[in-house]
Symmetry: C2
Subunit: 196 residues, 2 copies
DNA sequence: ACATTACGATACTATACGTTCCGTTATTGA
DNA sequence: TCAATAACGGAACGTATAGTATCGTAATGT
């Protein structure tokens, strides 16, 4: 039932890797249930079946704890199938799959909402969020290289346009994020609304 | 220094309309500064220069107070200039203007983030948020009638696509929401990313 | 004038946070 | 095998702040 990490040679009971993971799992669960600001170390300890001291021994406060817990959630995976439309669809489809099988769909709005008025969180998360967008702009850039997309394309704006509908549904209409919506979504972003 | 409302004929000191507005203003300010969950009635009372009892006399809890305060913020205004592109651009430009001159840009993410794990708030706000989208779908529908947009267009998805980039910037990249970005944004949504 | 109601301020009570301490347990090294 | 060491879960501590109740004062209508 105990941990198995090597203490680097020093004596004493080693830190339990089980407890570590249980704490991170409990943090993710509670983030989804009550959100960032209502999350307390005491609640995490109870959920994880762990003493509060065990948490404070590893993280000085809830902010870095939340950051590490969030970092354990899955992210967008790069795909290269030969054309932009297929790449974007495949990437977003598997991403929406993640939304339906992990608490990410609840945690993301909570942290994004907190970011707006919590500078410390903002500074920690902005780079993380920026990194999570990368696979998207990479796919678009590849589309430009292939000649599928125009040369002068604003990649940032294009990325925002592609995932925009997901963000709107996620934050506002709060509706079902089915992978089936990806097809029409990407097609519309690529072709535009206007009559051709 | 006193209020001026008519008490409906009943005797006694009338409720101060000044205090009422000061409370709503303070609520908006604090929503922007600390967010929904960290907002306290005590904090609102202090900011408004008002006793706590004065607040509890009017609102049973902070939720309806927040709802009413949010309801006082400006919304999207309908515009009809003759073509979809102009309508959308004018509407979104003035909306972004609002984002830069009111705390809306901070409050919206905070409430949207809370909505994800606060069912009571969700039930109250989902209709409000849906109503705020209306002018957008109306403008798009008019575009279909005019023949500028295809007949079978999915209006909801189209609306999500148009405002998507704003939502993404608002929640994630948190960057400058200049009215100047509206032109390229709407053009890209209408024409699509792909080479024509 | 007098009754009535709202006002700002403050005292009160209960809850719940973060922190620290404690006896126990697991591991290392002699 | 047995001390030394460090992490463990649980519990106790002090503090802060929520919401409520109460106070004397101010502003109305009769």
């Amino acid at each position: 039932m105990a941990g198995s990490g090597s203490n680097g040679g020093s004596a004493g009971r080693p830190r339990s890797e089980e407890a570590h993971q249980a704490i991170l799992d409990a943090t993710v669960e509670l983030l989804a249930e009550v959100g960032f600001s209502a999350l307390t170390v005491e609640g995490v300890a109870q959920r994880a079946g762990v003493g509060k001291a065990t948490i404070y021994r590893r993280w000085p406060s809830k902010l870095p704890l939340v950051v590490e817990a969030f970092g354990g959630l899955p992210r967008l995976e790069e795909v290269d199938m030969g054309d932009v439309a297929s790449d974007l669809k495949a990437m977003l489809r598997s991403y929406l799959q993640i939304f339906n099988t992990t608490p990410l769909a609840t945690i993301l709005p909570s942290l994004a909402g907190e970011r707006a008025h919590n500078d410390a969180l903002s500074e920690l998360f902005d780079p993380v969020l920026k990194g999570r967008r990368r696979p998207l702009t990479v796919a678009l850039e590849r589309g430009v290289e292939r000649g599928e997309l125009p040369a002068g394309l604003d990649l940032e704006l294009a990325a925002d346009l592609v995932v925009g509908p997901i963000a709107v549904k996620l934050f506002f209409t709060g509706g079902k994020l089915s992978p089936r919506m990806v097809g029409p979504m990407v097609d519309m972003a690529l072709a535009g609304l206007a009559k051709s």
